[in-house]
Amino acid sequence: MEMSAVGQSHSMLDAQERVSGRINYVLNVEQPGMLVGKILRSPFPHARIVAVDVERAERLAGVGAVLTRRDFGPTSGYSGRYGRIFRDQSVVAFDKVRFVGDPVAAVAAVNEDVAEEALSLISVDYEELPAVFDEEEALKPGAPLVHDPRPQQQPAFSKLIQDLPPGTNVCSHFKLRRGDIESGFRESDFVFEDIFRSPAAQHVPLEPHVTVAQFVQGKLTLWTSTQMPHAVRSQMAELFNLPQSRVRVIVETLGGGFGSKGSLRLEPITAFLALKSNRPVKIVLRREEEFVTVCKHPATIRIKTGVMKDGTLVARQVTANFNTGAYSDIGPVVARNGGSAMSGPYKIPHVRIDSFAVWSNVVPAGALRGFGVPQAVWAYESQMDKIAEQLDLDPVEFRRKNLLHDGDLFATGEKLADMHFDELLERAAASVNWSPSDARWLNPDNSQSKQSPLRRGKGLALVIKATITPSTSSAAVKINEDGSLNVLTSSVELGQGAKTVLAQIAASAMQVPLACVSVSDPDTDLTPYDQQTSSSRTTYSMGGAISKAAIDLKRQLCEYAAELLEVSLNDLILEEGRVMVRGSPSRSISYGEVALRSNQGNLIGRGAFSTRGGLDLETGQGIGSVHWHQGAIGCEVEVDVETGKIKVLQLTPVVFAGRVVNPRLCELQLDGCAIFGLGQALFEEMTYDDHGQLVNANLGDYNVPSFEDIPWKVNSCALEHAESEELHGIGETLLPPVMAAVGGALYNATGVRLCELPLTAEKVLLALRNGRLRDQDAH
């Protein structure tokens, strides 16, 4: 019997269902009598709603309900307003629409065709308003106000987000103040200032957002594609004025999430349609609707860094504007997380950061794998390369000189431990056989053949990333009369292998075979509280809760076994699914028998795992993360200077993982991070026209990496540490550094330095042409 499940590369426990098409996604949920819901969306980026006429739609045969702003407000008893931080969103638009795609009305009908026809029968009169799309434009005096008056802030976030004056599009302002920035720049030999931009990008989980809502005897049940079942429950309870016990959220397996399935999405609109039609209602988003539901924050980051001649970093000032679009969603926390990461894995004594979430008339931005850190790393690691060039330093040496080590203070003032950046940098450099002459500026007679249009270059980048702190997970572990285990958890399986990894942790903790363990899907009526499946926290946090539940369960097993075996508690040991008397192995009793003879039916252990921390509102000082995720990427590219196309030849993502529970599933996520980052590095960008209309909202025009876009090999590597028993989440860490590593390699290959993602062939070619023109002028 194999007892140490942790550390083994088990295939996913539900692998057979997955390869035979039988696994149950939320997409498959159907209820008897279910109607199909459809959403009417705004064609304007910013407009006042003058009138909504639904009479003809309501009369259409087969229509169960039409939902509009009339259904909300004081007389209805439903405010219809929601939002995790600001109540700036409404179930359907009330007074005005704020982006192209904003829901204006919705219908539920017997089938898709009738629902579509009903939508076409709704007429809406709009009065167009001036709109603003860019985060920097939105901050200018006189810019159209997206929200006026300023929306109300949820009390739970008052310690996280500062109250700001009305009259601007500033949604939130994160401040970090460390040392004395002015004297830092005065002391510096050189000061460098740069601007880096990241565009909006899509999550593109292949399974779209889906919600099925049903009211039975006043209780709302939701089957929904969410990464946060408990947060959905509490917000829905508030929207429907129900106790949380009368909202049930069930989450089947998700076909990917990547952060997109975080906040409330389709749940409010679907549930109000269900209430109004008195039938179960299902809404499935079409791909083009996915594009207008949530995205990665476009960001403009101004970064100013002071440095000594020898390459010692002294001071850094950053102004970051994260464009959170029409609604704030979790944007203020993204801006805070990205903001607090701006000093990177480097010792910088003087740091001043102002990071803003800004409202504008584009698609709302929210959490996307990396949570603000990809934008930050693109800026600070690209600038590190530029500074190294200006100082004529080897970029690897320059980074090494400034790395954070155990005992150093982070920009938030917290003391760091378990730092592994020396090794990570070493590994990344070794992966591409880095030598100083790989830096273009240290190799003036660049030896690359000019016969061929192909130029090669190497690059690397580092990342430090927080995991959400404070946070709480709880779990229950139930032992049955045959000794098998049910793990009750609200962690969501979205492809990361959570159920398998948590089963491995439970099997290891309880000393039972993995095959005896079954892990639940989240069901808020049955499974204990979990904050969210995000922030790379499930293995660490829910794993911690399960370990504690196992301790509780083992205590109960021993107590009952002591009675049954008539020995003292101290004489008992637990091994291989049995409670044994120390020293006399013949006297033992199986877990199942203990459960059976305990007269308890079954035994349930429970455990909660929570972390503490938080940052001061004025200074950004405090505990930003219970521990820090650390990673590095090395990459080599080949650029065709005749077409501008970048081909990434190899990528080596290296992460510090503490201890790995399932090496193969870990490797899959590391590969996934690298490939996800590659898409954002090379071509992923949501493109708007001048009127705020998204022009590439489909997978024909918006490309994600296919088999033919990926490097020949990605050499993913998770560093384990013998002394470290701690589990580190690895689901996001290696996405953020990909873009800067590729950007650096592009420069070393061609001399083209781009400051705006993605690094498309067009941009590279244009920069090469401009460079040639400049060279000609110079001669």
């Binding site: 057979q16 997955r18 035979s20 098409g21 399974e207 590969d671 997978l699 033919e708």
Partner: protein, 165 residues
Amino acid sequence: MKQIIKLKVNGVEEEKAVHTHQTLLEVLRGEHKLFGAREGCGIGMCGACTVLIDGKPMSSCILLAALAEGKEIVTIEGLSEPGKLHPIQQAFVDHNAFQCSYCTPGFILSTKALLAENPSPTAEQIRHYLAGNLCRCGSYYKIQDAVLDAAARLRAEGANPTRTA
């Protein structure tokens, strides 16, 4: 307007009343309740809805159901016998060649078509053939390993056909 068509899905022919504008994917999911084919993009770009039509991988999201009449339609549910996975499926399990697995049926069916055309594909040929199937989780390297392995298993079975009985 509905019309009656005869669809032969996974070896069973049935009459179905379908709208002329209904796609094969809608009919497979809505009428047959075969949930292994899934919409990802709705425009034939992602491959999540791939089924085999007379052995060729096609995007069922852009194929009208009526046009599939008289053809052999195979979905992922038709690939394995009860209790026994197809060798390609088994290779995907053994390599854990997926994360969320929403794309997996499409990859497996495209692989089946690939290996029927070319029993010994190189890694380059695999990448080229499967470029129309997207895996957003980025499990491509494990998929490539699984396909190479599946090819080897099928070749071995071909050499020793009694094992497939």
